[in-house]
């Protein structure tokens, strides 16, 4: 690749005339329909065996130029799909080698790597699409959002629903006053169990004894990344089920919260909460609990009344509202907005007759070209994406992840005596100092440098 010192981002945004210098892989040219290759951005994927692969499929209109995964067997399908993309195991090596070829990076590693990979990319001026939740800790989300703002890169968190028509209609209906002031919102998910016959992923379990041989295709040390080293045991952590472990994932709340709490943030214009309170089934230092309830209290915002956000997981639901007609499903995942003048359940006014009568709210929000396209447009210098880190996703992820702090086993006894009170200015819990270390985490030796990079570089 022949780009020399010019960054691709600057190039894409400002100097289309230089396009001819960009050498584009042949397969892209072959498959590229109408758009000139030069209008495409060059994307790398990090963590591509799971959701990352799905993200890349949604970005296939662009150039997929490099792929990176700590497990090449898990990544094999994605490698096959993009045969001309360079293959890497270590994202650091990839970023070094591909620096000049990349415009953006799609990060879909386990949660505990999100901030590190994303930050490494941002520091190189790359645009970042990062899966939800944005990060593993509250502080990482804050720093990452700040870094993205400073670097002026285009960002998008992987909560696709934010781009939907449904989210827009919900906001517009509530802003239209259709249910009056909203004082309570209930959000629930069936995760970590699917309620049929198996786990999405286990929670409430302890670390297994023993150790299995590490498959040749897997770089276990790299998967562990900044987390404390632990023995490899097959199927316990990788793939996918890392979600239930404190060291790697963010549990049901982290997984689904950024999807389902996102509309609450938008519709009710939420910021930081004033308090966080949680209760859960038995919890240990290894995995998140089987079920939890988290309650956030938000202060008044301008003309908007204070609101309490109630989170339920593990299959627990709020009481079925009397306005929900007999025979209508009280869903396994849902959202109920309770206002002074009515209720909205999964995006519809209750009862359904009320919704029909109401029809559609006045349109106030621009419609989205699609969640992934929003990011592509932003990468090309267009409007910031709807779930960009500095304006939205950073805060959303911080608030979601605060709930997990309130579930920490080490704080459980203490939190029988108080709820957590949050000081947004001071970025700390004021009344339980023991909780503040959980805003961040310890990084394993060798990763600390990268972490410093996050703060100081």
């Amino acid at each position: 690749m022949e780009q020399k010192k010019m960054t691709r981002r600057g190039f894409m945004g400002t100097a289309a005339g230089v396009a001819a210098f960009t050498v584009v892989p042949r397969h892209v040219v072959a498959g590229s329909g109408a758009a000139a290759p030069s209008e495409k951005i060059n994307i790398a994927g990090v963590g591509i065996g799971g959701q990352g692969g799905a993200d890349l499929r949604n970005l296939e209109s662009q150039n997929i130029v490099a792929l990176c995964d700590v497990d090449w067997r898990h990544a094999a399908g994605c490698f096959r799909r993009y045969p001309n993309a360079k293959q890497y195991k270590d994202f650091r090596v990839m970023l070094d080698k591909e620096d000049k070829n990349l415009d953006g990076v799609v990060v879909a590693t386990p949660d505990h790597m999100h901030a590190i990979v994303s930050m490494a990319a941002i520091r190189r001026g790359k645009h970042v699409y990062c899966e939800k939740p944005l990060t593993h800790t509250v502080r990482e989300a804050k720093i990452l959002a700040e870094a993205a703002r400073e670097a002026k890169v285009a960002t998008q968190m992987g909560n696709q629903g934010q781009a939907s028509e449904g989210t827009r209609l919900l906001c517009e209906t509530i802003w239209d006053g259709a249910i009056g002031q909203v004082r309570d919102v209930h959000i629930w998910t069936d995760r970590p169990l699917n309620g049929i016959d198996k786990w999405y992923w286990p929670q409430g379990v302890d670390r297994p004894k023993g150790e299995d041989p590490i498959p040749e295709t897997l770089d276990w040390d790299l998967l562990i990344g900044p987390a404390p080293m632990r023995p490899y045991v097959q199927r316990v952590y990788h793939p996918f089920v890392w979600r239930g472990w404190w060291d790697f994932g963010t549990g049901a709340l982290g997984d689904i919260g950024c999807h389902s709490i996102d509309p609450v943030f938008r519709a009710l214009k939420l910021g930081y909460p004033t308090s966080v309170e949680a209760t859960c089934t038995l919890v240990n230092n290894e995995t998140y609990p089987v079920a939890s309830r988290v309650t956030y209290e938000f202060p008044a915002r301008g003309d908007l009344a204070p609101v309490t956000l109630h989170w339920y997981d593990g299959g627990m639901k709020p009481p079925r509202p009397p306005e929900l007609e007999d025979g209508r499903k009280w869903d396994t995942n849902g959202a109920l907005y309770v206002g002074d003048k009515g209720k909205m359940y999964n995006g519809r006014l209750l009862p359904e007759s009320r919704q029909r009568e109401y029809g559609k709210p006045p349109q106030k929000l621009e419609r989205s070209p699609g969640h992934y396209m929003e990011w592509v447009i932003a990468c090309k210098g267009g409007k910031p994406a709807g779930s960009n880190f500095p304006d939205h996703a950073g805060l959303l992820a911080q608030v979601v992840l605060m709930g997990n702090i309130a579930l920490r086993p080490a704080l459980k006894e203490k939190l029988l005596s108080t709820k957590l009170l949050w000081d947004a200015q001071g970025f700390k819990f004021t009344n339980v100092p023991e909780a503040n270390p959980y805003l961040t985490k310890e990084y394993r030796e060798g990763w600390a440098r990268l972490y410093r990079l996050m703060k100081d570089d």
């Binding site: 049929i196 409430g204 089934t281 038995l282 079920a291 593990g314 639901k317 079925r320």
Partner: protein, 456 residues
């Protein structure tokens, strides 16, 4: 024992004191009796004595134990050894046949699923009964026992010992005094089924596949009683049966009769009009066997007299209620307890019989001018619960938690258990006819079928 055909129950209720001399009392009782005439003593039997029964027996050591019965004579061994003169049985039916004339009253502390058949057999013979909580395993059974006991005119007591406490009476008096104004919301909770000790930890599991041999000491068929047959496994007995649908009533059945008891009495709750439960997931193979890891049950009680409607919430599995505003920061909520939210204040208490009762914050407690004590006290409070029954058997005045009270309390508690079966939908309750009017499927849990050979 040489007791003749005199009706001991009648005798003990005070109608035939002169005949007392005919009763022959075992020597060991005479030796230990200090001041009490042997003839004043009840002749008691106990069924299900290895666990809680042992402690109930202990509390009645002032009386004569003439017969003891347990389906597992090894588990019962310690109690057998302690009362060597009592005759020992495995089958309560055989015991009742043989000892009919010798027994005034029976203490019953079998697993929940056999409460009803054992108690009904005793009621039919007009024996007084002390029956562990919850009164029975299904709502239908509770109603039948309550009615049968009333008809038989026997003295009854349910084993919710907290009901004899000082604090539960204080709660009634304070609420009646308007200490916190009208109460519209109550939270009750228990850390079970994961309380952290063998008594309060119930398993959450699929049905065991292994079929180990039944220990010689145990009559497994009898232990199963009216429950559907299944192979023996040590996980069920002793203790852990509480976590299984077929045998126990879960955390709510286990602790609800203790923890909701104060609200039920003090607020004169009666039966709810609606109840709705949500729980952690039911995985089919596990759900068919054991109660969920955690549940939230929400009851709605209508207005009673001048008292407003009440929403009462039950939480278990270590789920805690929201922290009440009046509770001082730093003040701990216990693993089991209740919160009353009134228009003018908040009351909290702990697990049994409103223990640890306080108005919060403490400044308000201190400033509270306590009303006069108007409700009769039970001698020695909740430690005197069994003796209160003994007293009732002797003087004919009902015990503190007779079935007239314990029955309706248990019906309400078990309705919550039913709501867990039919979770995430409000159940409209007709307490007169014991019907969930909007979910006909509920019938099979209200009056579940008995195994062949067992009836009430």
């Amino acid at each position: 024992m040489m007791v003749d055909s005199i009706d001991r129950r009648k005798f003990l209720c005070g109608t035939a004191g002169a005949v007392a001399a005919f009763t022959i009392v075992p020597n060991h009782v005479l030796a230990g009796a200090a001041g009490q005439r042997p003839s004043d003593k009840l002749n008691l039997a106990a069924i299900g004595i290895g666990g809680m029964g042992a402690s109930n027996i202990n509390a009645c050591s002032s009386e004569n134990f003439v017969a003891l019965c347990d389906a597992d004579d090894q588990y019962a061994g310690k109690v057998f050894d302690k009362l060597p003169d009592a005759r020992k049985y495995k089958d309560f039916r055989v015991m009742l046949d043989k000892e009919d004339k010798n027994i005034d009253g029976v203490i019953i502390a079998t697993p929940d699923h056999t409460h009803a058949v054992v108690a009904m057999a005793c009621i039919k013979r007009r024996k007084h009964i002390y029956l562990q909580k919850p009164l029975a395993h299904s709502i239908g059974e509770v109603r039948k026992l309550t009615e049968a006991a009333r008809e038989a005119g026997i003295q009854t007591q349910m084993g919710n010992q907290g009901h004899s406490s000082e604090e539960i009476r204080l709660l009634c008096e304070w609420l009646a005094d308007g200490a916190i104004g009208p109460v519209r919301e109550v939270y009750t909770w228990s850390d079970r089924p994961v309380g952290g000790d063998p008594w309060s930890d119930f398993p959450i599991m699929a049905r065991p596949k292994e079929t180990p041999e039944v220990p010689k000491s145990l009559d497994w068929d009898l232990w199963l009683g009216p429950a559907q047959h299944r192979p023996y496994h040590p996980i069920y007995h002793p203790m852990s049966w509480r976590g299984f649908w077929d045998f126990g009533t879960g955390a709510l059945g286990d602790m609800g009769c203790h923890i909701i008891d104060p609200a039920f009495w003090a607020l004169k709750l009666g039966q709810p009009t609606r109840v709705e439960a949500t729980t952690t997931h039911y995985q089919p193979e596990i759900a068919a066997e054991t109660y969920p890891r955690a549940s939230i049950v929400r009851y709605e009680f209508p207005a009673r007299g001048n008292m407003p409607p009440v929403k009462l919430t039950w939480l278990d599995g270590r789920l805690m209620p929201p922290r009440p505003r009046d509770l001082e920061p730093g003040r701990r909520l216990d693993g089991n307890g209740a919160i009353f939210l009134g228009d003018k204040g908040t009351i909290i208490h702990g697990s049994h019989g409103a223990g640890g009762l306080r108005i919060v914050p403490e400044t308000k407690m201190k400033a509270y001018k306590r009303p006069e004590k108007t409700i009769p006290r039970v001698n020695r409070g909740q430690s005197g619960h069994e003796q209160d029954w003994v007293r009732a058997c002797k003087n004919g005045k009902p015990a503190s938690s007779s079935f007239e009270y314990g029955g309706p309390l248990t019906e309400m508690v078990l309705l919550g258990v039913l709501a867990m079966r039919l979770k995430d939908q409000p159940l409209e309750w007709d307490p007169v006819n014991l019907k969930v009017t909007n979910v006909p499927e509920a019938d099979k849990y209200i009056n579940p079928p008995f195994r062949e050979g067992w009836t009430l």
